[in-house]
Subunit: 254 residues, 2 copies
DNA sequence: CCCCTAAACATATCTAGACATCTACTTGAC
DNA sequence: GTCAAGTAGATGTCTAGATATGTTTAGGGG
């Protein structure tokens, strides 16, 4: 080691920083293969576990992706699904400045895969939100959204089972206009929505269901739909691949 | 090992699953210390690195937190600050001279730490959003928000340097009502906002600045403020500790 | 009683090597 | 020419240590 350089930083962090810098400099582009473990061992004169630890640091950051038997690759962010809370015509006026994160997912809409509809006792939080007694039966509709055959979101919708019995909401195909149109048919048209947004690391089950590589968080969106008289008629819990979505909300200063 | 149970699953995953189950069962509560590496070595008859790998899996999930020299502890989620997209920005609030962050939290206000104001060439995306030529000079205000002396957000605000020259916006203390009240003084009152929300794992620098433990993502909120004539006057990039915040948005059906 | 120090303990880093499993490519048989 | 088997190489898992560094606690000195 030449002179008293920064020995404070662990070897694996310095290797990781060097790789990161090489990626940032464009030496390795998205999808490119990085030098392998054995190559790093030779280049930096470290043991294999140390080289692996460097890769682990980059994986945790979501920068690279290891494919067993193949190598470690710079991750490519195809991304760019833009989920708007409000679809308004005013977009032309207010959109003049352009979006900060130019997501070019124009026209590419995710495909919907229906996972089933069932009746179950409501989770406590859902029952409370819908104004139902604890343990009330709710109708549960589960869907999965795919972009280019890759899952990007899982959505679970909860509705009062008694209210929606015998309607298309209880069927796999909820008909034209979706469940909101059916709720309108019932005189329970949703007119106002509240969305609560969180983010955390996925459970192994979530990572499996969304096909997430390590280093990718999930975004949880919980939307509650209200009728004009202020009653909640639907709770929709969505689990999104954080690397695939940009959420967008617009609102006025009242 | 009794009979031919699931040997397909790696040891470290089974150890991690066992610990996870114990946590879920309440055997270890938030803040409690888990059995240490040497203890796991004895209990499961594995090497140190294998026990460490089990902990690493739980850390990546954000479930536990390792403190060097002390042990591995079940993470305690101090619960979310609620960040509302609408009420928070109500005209009455900042028009009356109150801080927009007074609406945050459950009565507990985050403290604001001012990190400085400066003039710099605008990043390309910011210049485009503000409708300024590439490389135009913008005023950059950086602040950090702390809850119980722990940082939870870093905010960087960009404004046209020429427009805001000589105003309180160029000073550390932007005066009563904050920079939006000052923009209103200039006849550039923001009346509409767009927020774009993403999430990803933090860079090491971000993790350091926010004091994040591994397994905690960041939420990126980019707010653009528009005047009545549709011009963007401010771009505010916020980096949030994902475990500290719940974002909330309300809107009407289109 | 407080402060400082030392020891015990815990995690963090690192090494060296073994076997497992998957991938991509090459080779050979049909 | 096509398909299958074989093989080299890559990451994944696991062991068994050594050394480094931070934390906690117990003890001793002031």
């Amino acid at each position: 080691m030449p002179s008293g350089a920064q020995k404070r930083q662990p070897k694996y962090q310095r290797i990781a920083a060097a790789l990161k810098e090489a990626i940032a400099a464009g030496q390795y582009g998205p999808g490119d293969r990085l030098p392998g473990e054995s190559e790093l061992m030779g280049t930096y004169g470290v043991a294999r576990m140390t080289a692996r630890q460097a890769f682990a640091a980059l994986q945790a950051e979501g920068l690279v992706e290891a494919r067993k038997g193949a190598g470690v690759f710079v991750r490519e962010f195809k991304v760019g699904l833009r989920r708007r809370g409000i679809q308004r015509l005013a977009v032309e006026v207010w959109g003049a400045g352009g979006s900060i994160w130019a997501a070019d997912g124009h026209g590419r809409d995710p495909q919907v895969e229906f996972l089933g509809v069932s009746e179950k006792p409501a989770p406590a939080a859902v029952a409370a939100a819908l104004g139902l007694p604890a343990g009330a039966i709710v109708r549960v509709r589960r869907r999965r959204f795919l972009l280019d055959a890759k899952p990007v979101m899982v959505a679970t919708s909860y509705l009062d089972a008694a209210l929606t019995a015998g309607t298309a909401i209880a069927e796999p195909d909820s008909g034209p206009g979706g469940i909101y149109a059916r709720l309108a048919d019932l005189g329970r048209k949703p007119v106002r929505f509240r969305e609560e947004v969180r983010s955390r690391m996925p459970t192994p089950e979530e990572a499996d269901g969304l096909g997430l590589t390590s280093g990718t968080p999930v975004v949880l969106v919980c939307r509650t739909a209200f009728t004009a008289d202020g009653h909640a008629v639907e709770v929709n819990e969505m689990t999104l691949d954080a690397s695939a979505y940009v959420l967008e909300y617009e609102f006025d200063a009242p």
